[in-house]
């Protein structure tokens, strides 16, 4: 583990660390916010999964979450969104069919790829579900019995699917403008096909609506969606809402006027999400 950054932030520390991942077989970076309360003993952990085009930096620079995490005594851990490295960077080298950055670096989709050329390194599901929690538990004052899961866009997809596949692990799950039904929209189908192949049954573990259709349940779900979001056709909160209604999954879906898909939206609602998590992460 190598410390890359360490900044004073709201009486706590905003850090970035790098380690050699056994899952991705690359160096991986992640951010950790340590609130002042973590000096006195273990603090609950909220996981933050970022969206397409992001690395571990966007959230810590743009969301303004440290203020709330400091007040609420939450550790926030934010992994990168894909493996990276000389052999992996760039759509062409990495094999993105359209070279549009929708597959490959920054577009790991929080899945374990089974197809060439992705399979050897693109193991973000195993990294986020298995390896990184071990690293965090071993190296930071984290109370792993109190975890929450949150993310934005592609990371909202990650938050929903990781939680639905691991019932009981997270006491709270919420998402901001998540990709909710990738098997049912073309941009999602393109990615799932590239990473997982033609067998659409294998895609269902990476689609929140499918996981709910297949019996996945969480005690609660909080989802915020800006009504000026230009990507609504790719996100399809309506399909998440329909699946939840049909299958008895509790969902609070808030449609918020005036907000887009960007970090100005994330910053505007992250405080309420973290407060919602903190209420559910009390000892």
């Amino acid at each position: 583990m190598r410390m890359i950054e360490d900044h004073g932030s709201f009486e706590g520390r905003q850090q970035v660390w790098e380690h050699d991942s056994r899952e991705t077989r690359t160096p991986m970076r992640f951010s950790v916010y340590l609130p002042p309360a973590a000096k006195a003993g273990p603090a609950p952990v909220v996981w933050w999964l970022s969206g397409l085009t992001c690395n571990e930096q966007n959230f810590i620079i743009k969301a303004g979450a440290q203020r709330y995490a400091s007040e609420l005594g939450l550790i926030i851990v934010g992994p990168d969104t894909s493996p990276r490295g000389p052999a992996l960077d760039g759509g062409e080298v990495a094999g993105d069919p359209d070279g549009q950055g929708e597959i490959g670096p920054s577009a790991g989709y929080y899945l374990d790829a089974t197809q060439a050329p992705w399979a050897p390194h693109y193991r973000m599901r195993s990294y986020v579900e298995g390896e990184l929690p071990e690293v965090v538990a071993a190296n930071f004052p984290a109370d792993m019995s109190r975890q929450g899961m949150c993310g934005h866009s592609m990371g909202g997809h990650g938050a929903l699917t990781v939680s639905l596949r691991n019932p009981g692990r997270f006491r709270a799950t919420s998402a901001l403008a998540p990709i909710s039904a990738p098997t049912k929209v073309e941009s999602g189908r393109k990615r799932l096909r590239a990473y997982l192949g033609e067998d659409e049954q294998a895609w269902r573990a990476y689609d929140a609506t499918c996981l709910i259709e297949d019996g996945g349940r969480l005690p609660e779900l909080l989802v915020d969606q800006g009504l000026d979001d230009p990507l609504m056709e790719r996100l399809r909160p309506d399909l998440l809402e329909a699946a939840c209604r049909e299958h008895g999954q509790s969902l609070e879906l808030r449609r918020l006027a005036g907000y887009g898909h960007n970090y100005y939206f994330v910053a505007s609602v992250i405080g309420e999400h973290l407060r919602w998590h903190a209420e559910r992460l009390r000892p």
Copy 2:
């Protein structure tokens, strides 16, 4: 005036505008945060001046100020830090003697240059003191009888010197890790010489300690300085403190443990600064 960006942010709008400046003779961009209260009528304005390497983006992306401005009902206007354009970009073209980015684009120093090649465009003093306030007054619901002035690093220098040269214009002036005494440190002297020539008398209008020595007074000054700031030798808050003490200028200088020079520091204290401004900007 051309609208470049317009985002929902904390129930208000974060905008970026561009206009053709008569002072710099270039297109200039500036950010405007409009709080929800500005829908109902004129709101007070806090000016934000950014530091070296910044443009109008850094503050609106990184500082998390919108939350406070929304709550407090403050408009925040943030100009770019220098003129830009094909003929002006790049240390070499622009004539930065060392090519280190300390003079030229992003390093306008909030002064009116008198020396070649800077004089025709580098008129950030006249832009910030004269032209931009006119533009803001004419185009936004701004109550120009209630203005505050704030900035960081080179922008802290700007905030102090603009305020000290315009007594009575700003009801509140504060600075974060400001360059306080540029005539007395080598990095400052290099810039002042490049922009203003060899006559050191002309430099005094752009040095907060000199302005105070020469009789400039403000009702109050609030300055925050992180104690882990690696640029302390260029900032010299101790010289500001000495000048204020010697000449009877009220100063609250807070030295804050654990904070560096970056936007994690800015984000950690901007809420207190905006609250301090808001108290002084009540109708």
